[in-house]
């Protein structure tokens, strides 16, 4: 909704994502703040925001696939693994520069996504969810048994380097990840305004109607799989150069479900949703990691399992509560809050 007193007089104004000067100002201030965080915030904040970015990239990609196109995907963690190993192997063993390896990792993950998306030509809904569930187990199995990935011993990879600049400190990694995240979010945001994005939404809302309207649904479904898994692959590639040691167990099924939950918490089919969800869930993660060991120390009778167990429980509970009480997520709640503030003191 446009702010009061703003009217669209040209088509270009109607199309613009940012309509008013204050929008531009706020965006610039926000981007500036993001860029400046390493200058004044400590290592912990950098690390936290870097981790949020991994969630954001994954969730934005999955949101294109699930929230916009309506294709359930449970195996995003495995596609992240594909990207991570691709980038790790290309830079460490083939000597390809990181700047090339990053898109290649995304491409390969996307190609894997297309491969497991192919059954979408024959089945949909629950069956497709099962194919992606299978993809998770099959891909991780392959990672565990290929020689080049180091199998269950895992592998080490180098820090990313761009033109001789080695990104080995948390600040440099932060900047890299942040730049990529901002670009990817921007691309996703624009994609949804194009012919492709509209085709995705048409398929989600009613695939038969979409086909009648001339949308080639097979092509667009596969494209959605490619894009969703491309995002996961990019996240994986960045992850590889963030941890510098890879192991198949870093990409369990649980993570894939976690990304799903992030979208649910944030709000499916919105651009703001996955970002908000990622921030909230990562925040919850931090709270779990800080508070629960203390709880465990205070109540030793509950046993040593409390710290690792309460994390999934807290996450699961938050997801469940959102599904029951606010299935449209934070994005919807935020929109309601905003409109009630704008209309105050009137009800609507």
């Amino acid at each position: 909704m446009l702010p009061c007193g703003t009217y669209n007089r040209h088509y270009s104004e109607d199309m613009a994502i940012l309509r008013t000067r204050s929008h531009w100002g706020l965006l610039m201030a926000f981007l500036f703040l993001l860029a400046a965080i390493p200058l004044f915030a400590g290592y912990q904040w950098e690390n936290l925001i870097t981790l949020i970015c991994f969630y954001v990239i994954n969730a934005v990609g999955l949101n294109i696939l699930l929230g916009y196109t309506g294709q359930v995907a449970l195996g995003q963690a495995a596609f992240m693994a594909v990207g991570a190993y691709t980038s790790g192997i290309l830079t460490a063993k083939a000597g390809i520069p990181f700047i090339l390896a990053l898109p290649l990792a995304g491409m390969l993950a996307g190609a894997a996504g297309i491969m497991f998306g192919l059954p979408s030509m024959r089945v949909k809904g629950f069956y497709l969810a099962l194919v992606t569930l299978g993809a998770q187990f099959i891909i991780i199995y392959i990672m565990e048994h290929l020689e080049i990935t180091g199998g269950t011993d895992g592998m080490t990879c180098d820090f990313a380097s761009i033109g001789g600049l080695v990104l080995d400190t948390p600040s440099k990694i932060y900047w890299l990840v942040m730049v990529v995240t901002v670009i990817l979010v921007f691309l996703a945001m624009n994609l949804m305004r194009t012919r492709v994005g509209r085709a995705f939404i048409a398929i989600r809302d009613n695939d038969i109607a979409a086909e009648v309207l001339g949308v080639n649904i097979y092509y667009y479904k596969l494209l959605a799989f490619f894009i969703g898994c491309f995002y996961s692959g990019i996240a994986g590639a960045l992850w590889a150069h963030y941890t510098t040691s890879l192991h198949p167990s870093q990409f369990p099924l649980h993570n894939g479900i976690l990304y799903l939950g992030i979208i649910v918490v944030g709000g499916m089919g919105t651009m703001f949703g996955p970002i908000a969800g990622a921030v909230v869930m990562r925040g919850l993660d931090e709270i779990v990691m800080i508070v629960f060991p203390k709880l465990a120390a205070a109540f030793p009778s509950l046993g040593a399992n409390m710290a690792p167990a309460l994390g999934p429980m807290a996450f699961g509970l938050v997801f469940i509560l959102f599904l029951i009480f606010e299935p449209r997520g934070i994005a919807h709640g935020w929109g309601r809050l905003k409109s009630s503030v704008e209309h105050w003191p009137f009800a609507y």
Partner: protein, 294 residues
């Protein structure tokens, strides 16, 4: 040949358990159209419940199994009341996600209560082995196979024949029609979740007997999903057949493919078979063929 028979018998035993749990899955699906992805966690919690009663509380095995059954049923009941019922009327996607995050939650719960220390049941079955086709098969494995099949048979019989199950079948057909005929659809949902919880607990007990109890049970139990799909989602006999097929194929793969690829194929072989089935025969062996435009 000995190797083949050994693998076959082991596979049938595990497959019997899969069949049993798969029934729990199919029951819920048939009556309410809900895919219960938390089925693996039901299995895990059921197995641990029996273990707690038997090992930590030193109860006799029979009492423990009964308590495990009650506990599993209670778990199913609670899940239905607390998590599934509020989702009535939402689209299928939300309900799939609900059971997925439910598995997240239950995983944490099991972790909190039992931790990651694996457990073993006390010997409650006569030890020994029988020679079948030249291969020695443990009596416990035979027992598990028979027990799983008996339970599967009882449930199938109830669902197909008994009068009370008519309401269930009507609910499976169409919720609104069933309601119009005076059937309380919500009660049916509670009933199937409770029964499924108990059946999964039995499955957990049998699985625990065969391979020990640990935190990998949920992943193991999740393999009934491929089994159900291969059998055909709506079919009771299909669930049993699918379970047996997956169990046997998995063991055969671990015997004959593992030496080639270097181990571990049983973790994903069920899913490979499942994907092949989805591509070639998406409605499974005994499922209803629905004509659906894509």
């Amino acid at each position: 040949m000995d190797k083949f028979m050994g693998l076959l018998s082991n596979g049938l035993a595990v497959g019997g358990v899969y069949a049993c749990v798969a029934l729990g899955f199919t029951l819920i699906f048939k009556a309410t159209r809900v895919f219960n992805f938390a089925v693996g966690n039901f299995v895990c919690i059921g197995a641990f419940l029996v273990w707690t009663c038997a090992v930590q509380f030193h109860l006799s095995m029979v009492v423990s199994i009964l308590l495990g059954l009650v506990g599993g049923g209670a778990l199913g009941f609670l899940c239905d009341r607390l998590f599934v019922r509020p989702m009535i009327g939402q689209d299928i996607l939300s309900i799939i996600i609900m059971t997925l995050v439910l598995s997240f939650f239950l995983n944490g719960l099991a972790m909190l209560i039992w931790g990651s220390v694996p457990g073993v049941y006390p010997d409650y079955l006569p030890r020994g082995s029988l020679g079948i086709g030249g291969a020695a098969v443990g009596t416990d494995i035979i027992f598990c196979f028979v027990a799983a099949l008996v339970i599967a048979g009882l449930i199938a019989l109830y669902f197909e024949r008994a009068k009370g199950s008519l309401a269930m079948r009507a609910t499976a057909e169409d919720h609104q029609v069933a309601q119009a005929a005076g059937i309380r659809v919500k009660n049916i949902s509670t009933l199937v979740w409770t029964v499924a919880g108990a059946v999964c607990a039995i499955g957990g007990l049998l699985l625990g007997t065969i391979r020990g109890i640990d935190m990998y049970l949920p992943e193991f139990g999740l393999k009934v999903v491929p089994a159900v799909l291969i059998g055909g989602l709506e079919s009771i006999s299909g669930a049993v057949a699918g379970g047996l097929i997956i169990g046997v194929l998995e063991k055969l793969a671990s015997g004959y493919i593992n030496p080639i690829v270097g181990g571990g194929i049983e973790t994903c072989f069920a899913y490979i078979v499942m994907i092949i089935f989805i591509i070639l025969k998406p409605h499974g062996l005994f499922g209803l063929k629905k004509i659906e435009r894509l």
